[in-house]
Amino acid sequence: MGVPILKQGHCLIATIQAALTDTDLQGLRDDLVAQVGRDRARGVIIDITALDVMDSFAVRTLRDIARMARLRGAETVIVGIQPEVALSMVELGLTLEGVNTALDLEEGLACLDERTKRANGGGEARAR
């Protein structure tokens, strides 16, 4: 069962609809990283609104996706972490350290927008 990945501008959006097996998660990771290269995407949004449970493997995989995508020039934002999931994650010490998070898709896109603007602004300053 593959997770559908949509393209919006320079962003890839992966919406997880149901609980994923470990294999599915690894598949998602490989698909996303490959597509970042193919589409020269600058941003990745992973929407986990539909998940009501997150285990340590899932958290680790999301972190891996973020790191791998960054190596290929794309910033990742995880969106839609439900309150109960957030609570159990922090209680278990799974904090998605170093990974961008936002409330929902809208906020996630805004976050990526901001980062791109800042990155471009810095580029311009250097170019001058």
């Binding site: 309150p83 957030a86 609570l87 922090v90 998070t101 936002a102 409330l103 976050c111």
Partner: protein
Amino acid sequence: MRAYRSPTPAPHGRPRLAPARTGRRAAEPQAAPPARAAKALLLAELVAHLRQGRTQLRDEWVRRIGEARLLTAMSQEEIFAEATSVYDNYLDALETGTLEALQAYAGQLSERIVPRGVETREVVGIVLLLRDVLARSLFANYRADSQLLNRVLDAYEPAANRIATTVAAGFVHERERVIREQQEAIRELSTPVLPVRERLLILPIIGLIDAQRARQLTEQLLRAIRANRAKLVVIDITGVPAMDSNVANHLVRTVDASRLQGARVIVTGLSPEIAQTLVTIGVDLSKMNTVGDLQGGIEEAERLLGHQVIPIPEANR
């Protein structure tokens, strides 16, 4: 003619002696040890005697309650009404030897009187008074035969004591339940999450934080972040008197959970004592953005949100 609820209907109008207390007993009616059967018979006779004297004994009891200045929160009529049903349930429990019905009654009675401010010592007091009034009555009735009196007391005392314990325990249980409910209500009221600007929430915490309160507070905050689409939260701990590693960890977890929902947290109101404690404990506060006071925290939050406060020009005021 019995005025109250009978434990079991009497077959063919014969008064029923102490009915089987356990399934075991019912299975072996002939093999019941003679001592127990005799005791049961005696108990039944005592109860019959106490039922006969119901009116005077109940009145005597109510009089003694007044004398001892118990149940002052209740009116005479109420005391009379409750005394009557306690009396009847007491005798039922004595007769049947089972306490379930009494426990249920004690629970309902407690639900009625706990909100009236009746105290544990009053409940224990009146039950013991009833025990004494009934004991005296038995004493007066059987004192002619000292051997019989001994057997009477042997049958009565353990049963009466069990009853006293059951009622007292039921009352205490109900009081504790009410206290827990009230604590829960106070907890909920004491951590309001306040939206003060678009995307900015303030959470002033007042009082001690334990694990339960920390969890409840975090849940409330996460729900509010979602509902208000907040990007910034200022948690003010001016009103938190004591900090230890547990509280610090709760705070860190709240900050982390908020971040997972896309909101940054600024912690304000750390007193010098708390700041010292945190440093001494060695809590990793690098992930926490802290500012001295609430005012500074709000200003910082607005800055982060990209807001600026400009005074209104004189002409437009």
